[in-house]
């Protein structure tokens, strides 16, 4: 794709001017300090992957941004149109959620419950059904409208949850290992969709993942986290940095064979 084209697209769709700031962000639970001194700027239209060993505080970071657990420091969202700082609207795609698969809750029920206050047990309004259909269409899942949640496959469920996270349109989209345990095809479909969204809507994405191959394929920026930001840059920068060997140790070296793994697009899935 020619450069000018890409820039123009960025300007019309994702303005790239609004951004989310984390300043001196930290989380302590009891006396245990889980995260400290995190300073990050995420521009809209940017997909930032957060990687790090188990227990590095990746999920905690997402929970703190969501407001589930208290944090120190500041979380600010700067709107390009009026330069006003405000709290960002945050969308969240959880890890494979566990729910009662036998419950007669349809996809439409889930959307209605989340988007309106009219009791779902009394039925759905035409308007809401159309809105849900449109939002499912965005993730190519409109055929799932009337299906029960328990009847969806793992990949379908994650797409539905992604569509739900985009309603109402968030400034910042958080994804926590959204496709762990889903087959390669489902994973690539999911990420292709995420890339589309990122290009076409004004939103920044923070993705937590262990799948380094997919991360290097789809993210333009990678943050290596271990209690604090160890390393922040393009996938090339981060994966060639010595720090990642310290953080991931033999795991990274054995499984990716060093730098080559990420260069080879879509090469070998790494758990």
């Amino acid at each position: 794709m020619p450069c000018s084209n890409a820039i123009q697209k960025q300007q019309t769709k994702a303005c790239g001017l609004c951004c989310t700031h984390l300043e001196d962000f930290g989380v302590s639970i009891g006396r245990t300090e889980i995260l400290r001194d995190i300073n990050l700027h995420i521009h809209c239209g940017e997909l930032m992957a957060v990687i790090g060993p188990n227990g590095a505080g990746k999920t905690t970071l997402l929970k703190a941004i969501l407001g589930e657990i208290p944090h120190t420091g500041w979380l600010r969202f700067l709107d390009a149109s009026n330069c006003q700082a405000r709290k960002p609207i945050v969308g969240y795609v959880p890890q494979k959620i566990d729910f009662d698969a036998g419950a007669p809750v349809s996809v439409l029920d889930l959307f209605s419950a989340a988007l309106s206050s009219w009791p779902v047990c009394l039925g759905h309004s035409r308007r809401l059904q159309e809105r849900t259909e449109a939002s499912l269409l965005r993730v190519r899942a409109d055929h799932l409208l009337k299906r029960r949640l328990g009847d969806l496959s793992g990949g379908e469920l994650q797409r539905v949850l992604l569509a739900l996270a985009l309603e109402p349109k968030p400034d910042l989209l958080l994804m926590d290992e959204p496709v762990s345990g889903i087959d390669v095809q489902g994973r690539e479909m999911f990420y292709d969709m995420v890339s589309d969204l990122r290009r076409n809507y004004d939103l920044s994405i923070i993705l937590v993942s262990h799948d380094l191959a997919l991360v290097s394929q789809y993210a333009e920026r990678v943050v290596l986290l271990n209690k604090t930001v160890i390393c922040d840059g393009t996938p090339e920068d981060v994966f060639s940095n010595g720090q990642i060997n310290l953080a991931y140790g033999p795991f990274y070296i054995e499984n990716t064979g060093g730098k080559r793994a990420y260069a080879k697009k879509g090469g070998g899935a790494i758990a």
């Binding site: 969501l66 589930e68 945050v90 969308g91 969240y92 959880p94 959620i97 566990d98 729910f99 009662d100 036998g102 419950a103 007669p104 809750v105 349809s106 439409l108 029920d109 889930l110 209605s112 419950a113 989340a114 309106s116 206050s117 009219w118 009791p119 779902v120 047990c121 009394l122 039925g123 009337k146 029960r148 949640l149 949850l161 739900l164 996270a165």
Partner: protein
């Protein structure tokens, strides 16, 4: 009430419907049925069958406390006690890491034992056995009024809170990410369920109240695909088994609550058999 009596005379020109107590009981069934159906669906969705069972059993202790304090009608003490218990159980769930089943099981056993110990002091337990089995036919117009108020309260609560209850029941972290105060919503639901169970207990009976709560919902979820169907079918099943059970108990001279539950169990069995063909 007069309007209701003449309406029943009009609609059901049968011998059973001529008794005032049957008219009252019929109205009670029509009030308790839908109320139990909609609460039951949510309890089943939340996997809280064990919780509602505990609330039912703990009513014994509520009665005992009422008796100790010298109240002739222990209903209000029972309701207050059940609210306190609901608050304790729902906050224990968040505070400890022990499994919910274990906590609720311990509370349940302790409450039943405490209730029996207090009530059996001096060998007078027999006069409380009506609470165990329940007596729907003895319901008075005043008590029907209490049931109607409770019913209205449930409708109102569901009108405002249903969607939040539903999201929390699907997945807590998903609900939380959409700005729902999950703990508060859970506590509210626990309290509402506790109050309804406790108010209805003397007519349905401690031993079987939970079955009447769970069975219609469990039957309905076998053959439904969305929330609206789920509720409609559950309400139909409770009302159908309520009225059929009432009639059977009248002609067979059996305990009404238990007869109703037996019919509801039959519905469950039928839907269970039908289930594979439905999906």
């Amino acid at each position: 009430m007069e309007i209701w009596y003449s309406l029943v005379d009009h609609l059901f020109p049968f011998t059973w419907a001529q008794h005032i107590f049957m008219k009252n009981a019929l109205m009670a069934v029509l009030l308790v049925g839908p109320m139990f159906a909609i609460i039951g669906t949510m309890i089943v969705n939340n996997n809280m069958a064990f919780y509602s069972d505990t609330i039912g059993h703990s009513a014994l202790t509520g009665i005992a406390i009422g008796v100790l304090l010298g109240f002739g009608d222990p209903l209000w003490i029972m309701v207050i006690f059940s609210i306190v218990l609901a608050l304790i159980i729902s906050s224990l769930k968040f505070l400890t890491t022990a499994s919910t089943d274990t906590i609720i099981g311990s509370v349940s056993a302790a409450m039943v034992a405490l209730g029996i110990v207090i009530l059996s002091r001096g060998g007078g337990f027999a006069k409380y056995s009506r609470f165990l089995i329940g007596d729907l036919l003895s319901i008075t117009p005043n008590e029907l009024l209490i049931l109607s108020i409770a019913f209205g309260g449930v409708i109102l609560l569901w009108g405002f809170m249903f969607n939040k209850f539903l999201l929390v029941s699907v997945n807590m972290s998903l609900a939380r990410s959409r700005g729902i105060p999950v703990h508060l919503v859970e506590i509210l639901f626990c309290v509402a369920a506790a109050v309804i169970v406790t108010i209805s207990i003397q007519w349905v009976g401690i031993l079987i109240i939970n079955s009447f709560l769970i069975l219609p919902a469990a039957a309905a979820r076998n053959i439904t695909k969305n929330i609206r169907q789920y509720h409609v079918v559950a309400v139909i099943i409770t009302i159908a088994s309520g009225i059929t059970g009432l009639l059977f108990s009248y002609y067979l001279a059996t305990a009404t609550g238990a007869t109703i539950v037996l019919i509801a169990a039959l519905f469950y069995l039928l839907t269970f058999i039908w289930k594979p063909r439905f999906f």
